[in-house]
């Protein structure tokens, strides 16, 4: 601002100065030239008269430093010159003013000297005897005049610069100060220049607009953060250079990082090749899906490209925890495989035996054995199907009627049914404890005790014992079934409640059973909101404890 003002002031003063100088010089120069020419003419007419009367003597007497007189003969030879030797001077006939004088009686001209520093004015007149008298005077040329004035002009220019600078500084300060003091946060409350009032009003409007927009943006950002923060799925937004723009808390937990990673590349928080190549694929193809195992859990990554106007601006990554789903899938697959296998085995025995009989390949005396085979296997099938139906009922979680029952009574009942098979193996089956009154579904509780005792008897060698104990605490009823049988190694504990899981992988039919018993137990106990715990080592017997809550 200051320099601009300085430039304007300086330029103005300079232009004014130079223009004045030029005009004045031109005027004065012309004016003085005219005066000089008139003077010359006067002198010439006097000298002409003198020369005509007294000739050369007059001229020689008339010595003057102010001007130079030259007398030229009609053939151009110089007859006299007041300042130079006439012998050295050449023929003057071709001089402009002299030629003019010979022709018209009077002549005048002006010529610059070779160096342009001087200008000579000439006036000539034709005398009565046919000769010409010329008078001339030297004077400085306009240029020399100007050069001579250079020093004062430069001094004036320097003074102009200084004055301009000082003025510019002061002026700009005066102009700028109110502008600098403007309060742009409250533009309408200023009373600076009238001229900028519209600008201030505009700024005020813009301020309001920006405030509104900012509030709106903040609200949206809060909303977005609230939503993403409470999401169970991980959410990561990337720009097109794979830098993290947003990451929600679920994603930070899943990927084992913190909020500080925002702004860094995704690679810095996870560099698993599967994930990075999936991001790459999403950025080129639009979408990618992968399943990755991270720290014991299985996650599904859904990655989609974000586009605006057909241009890729980034990608959004959604991370789902699919551990349970994957487990459930595995269980279902195993169950389907197992159930078909379990159903097929007895059917194959039945069809095999029946075919043999049909073709008459069975001797009459073997017939009863074959028939009993078929019956046994058919019974097995029936039990299996019954178990599956029971389990699927439990899976459906249909409401079953609950009543007040005594576990002790149910235990006695179940043991009564199993007494025969226990006796066959010479196993002592005892029920101890008392009461155990809870509100539950009788046949489910019966299944629990029956299956646990049945397993106890099956996996206990001859002469062993199976004990059932019912006890009550303040909150639950505890049912303990213990045996001194072959036990279960700890690594199987977690899986024995799965459908068709067998500790003995050979699926030996020796012990019978469908492989669904404990699964039914688990589901029945879960139905009552209870818990099961197992304590067992290989060859050291098994203790299974069921906790059933009293009040429901």
């Amino acid at each position: 601002m200051t320099s601009k003002i300085f430039r304007s002031i300086f330029a103005t003063s300079l232009v004014v100065l130079l223009a004045t100088l030029a005009i004045i010089t031109t005027f004065l120069y012309d004016y003085f030239t005219n005066i000089q020419i008139n003077q010359l003419k006067d002198e010439l007419s006097i000298a002409s008269v003198g020369t005509e009367q007294s000739g050369k003597e007059y001229l020689e007497d008339l010595k003057s430093d102010n001007f130079r007189l030259t007398w030229v003969d009609s053939d151009g030879t110089v007859l006299f010159d007041s300042q130079a030797d006439k012998a050295t001077m050449d023929n003057h006939l071709d001089r402009e003013e002299i030629a003019e004088a010979f022709e018209t009686g009077k002549g005048s001209s002006s010529r610059h000297s070779a160096t342009l520093t001087e200008k000579t004015l000439y006036e000539a007149a034709l005398l009565a005897d046919g000769t010409v008298l010329r008078i001339s005077v030297n004077r400085l040329s306009g240029l020399t005049l100007l050069l001579g004035m250079m020093t004062p002009v430069i001094i004036v220019i320097i003074i102009a610069v200084i004055i301009s600078a000082v003025l510019a500084h002061k002026m700009s300060k005066r102009i700028i100060e109110p502008l600098n003091k403007l309060d742009l946060d409250n533009p309408t409350e200023n009373d600076a220049y009238e001229e900028i009032a519209p600008l201030l009003r505009r700024i005020h409007k813009q301020n309001m607009k920006i405030e509104r927009k900012a509030a709106e943006l903040n609200r949206r950002k809060d909303e977005f953060e609230l939503i993403t923060k409470n999401m169970r799925e991980g959410l990561v937004l990337l720009d097109k250079n794979r830098n993290i723009l947003t990451i929600n808390s679920a994603a930070t937990i899943i990927l084992g990082t913190d909020e500080k990673c925002v702004g860094n590349e995704f690679l810095t928080i996870n560099r698993r090749h599967e994930i990075t190549s999936a991001i790459e694929k999403a950025l080129t193809d639009g979408h990618a899906e992968i399943r990755v195992k991270l720290v014991e859990k299985e996650y599904q990554f859904d990655i989609s490209r974000i586009e605006t106007d057909g241009e890729t601006v980034g990608a959004v990554i959604l991370v789902f925890d699919i551990t349970e789903q994957a487990d459930a899938e595995r269980l279902r697959r195993e169950f389907t495989a197992n159930v078909s296998h379990e159903l097929k085995t007895p059917l194959q025995t039945i069809t095999g035996s029946a075919e043999l009989m049909e073709n008459g390949l069975v001797k009459q005396e073997d017939m009863p054995r074959f028939v009993s085979h078929i019956r046994e296997e058919a019974t097995r099938l029936v039990t299996l199907v019954e178990d599956i139906i029971r389990l699927s009922q439990l899976d459906e979680q249909t409401e079953l009627p609950k009543e007040n029952v005594s576990l002790y009574e149910i235990a006695n009942e179940a043991c009564g049914v199993l007494r025969d098979s226990a006796d066959k193996k010479d196993i002592a089956l005892t029920v101890s404890g008392d009461g155990g009154n809870i509100c539950g579904v009788k046949h489910l509780l019966f299944e629990v005790i029956y299956n646990l005792c049945d397993n106890g008897i099956k996996y206990t060698p001859d002469g062993g014992k199976v004990e059932v104990n019912i006890a009550e605490t303040e909150k639950d009823v505890t049912l303990t079934v213990s045996d001194n049988g072959i036990g279960i190694a700890p690594q199987h504990h977690a899986r024995i409640f799965e459908r068709f899981y067998r500790v003995d992988k050979s699926h030996s039919k020796k012990s019978g059973g469908t492989g669904l018993g404990l699964s039914i137990v688990k589901h029945s106990v879960q139905y009552h909101g209870g818990k099961i715990s197992i304590q067992s080592e290989e060859n050291e017997g098994t203790v299974i404890t069921v906790f059933l809550p009293k009040d429901e």
């Binding site: 590349e265 690679l267 810095t268 560099r271 698993r272 090749h273 990075t276």
Partner: protein, 214 residues
């Protein structure tokens, strides 16, 4: 100018992480092949190893270009020179993973027996490599120091494995060749541990400007 330089440094950083990830993948794959005896897996290692070599050349060229064109000083210079040293170690890790994979193909489907603690050693080594790359990513000197300390554990495993292999040869001389192969594998893992230590030392250098061996 500076922003362009920063951008270039960022790209270098990304490439280093990518190379580190490739190393992790190579050694993880080699170790998986060792536990499952899957020869096909072992053959994949050489593909990754080739990728690692390629990456090394890329990073080397980038570092040279940065050094020549930007003439970095102080921290930037440290980062680039450390990167130049680290890629050599990473490349060696890739090569050794490939060597392990090659030996696995000679084992003809035999896996490392559980009595020999070679699997545990492999797991330890993998975690060392992962930690050293993590330390680089996070510029975490504490983690880098932990990696250096961790190397003793891997060395210890090597001695233990050597002992049990000597016993194996003494008891079942027909297993001699197998035992020697396992010893080679164990040695390679031990070397990988050393390279991870080197990487960790360079991480410390690039952050603090002090190198252990200087």
């Amino acid at each position: 100018m500076r922003s362009r330089f920063d951008e270039q440094l960022n790209i270098l950083n990304t490439e280093m992480i990518e190379m580190g990830a490739l190393c992790e993948e190579a050694i993880a794959l080699a170790s998986k092949a060792l536990t499952t005896g899957d020869v096909a897996l072992a053959e994949n290692v050489s593909v990754i190893s080739a990728d690692i070599d390629h990456k090394e050349r890329d990073i080397e060229a980038r570092c040279m270009k940065l050094l020549l064109q930007q003439q970095p000083v102080a921290r930037d210079l440290r980062q680039i020179s450390a990167a130049l040293k680290m890629i050599t170690d990473m490349e060696r890790i890739g090569d050794q993973a490939e060597d392990i994979a090659e030996i696995i193909t000679y084992l003809e489907g035999r896996t490392a027996e559980e009595t020999v603690h070679i699997r545990d050693m492999a797991a330890e080594t993998i975690s060392m490599v992962t930690d050293s790359v993590d330390a680089y990513v996070k510029k975490d000197t504490e983690l880098a120091k932990a990696v250096i300390v961790h190397d003793d554990k891997v060395d210890e495993y090597f001695d233990r494995i050597k002992g049990s292999l000597i016993k194996m040869i003494a008891e079942t001389p027909e297993n001699g060749e197998y035992a020697l192969d396992l010893l080679m594998i164990a040695k390679y893992f031990e070397r990988i541990g050393d390279h991870a230590t080197n990487i960790a030392e360079w991480v410390i250098f690039s952050v603090t400007g002090e190198h252990k061996n200087s």
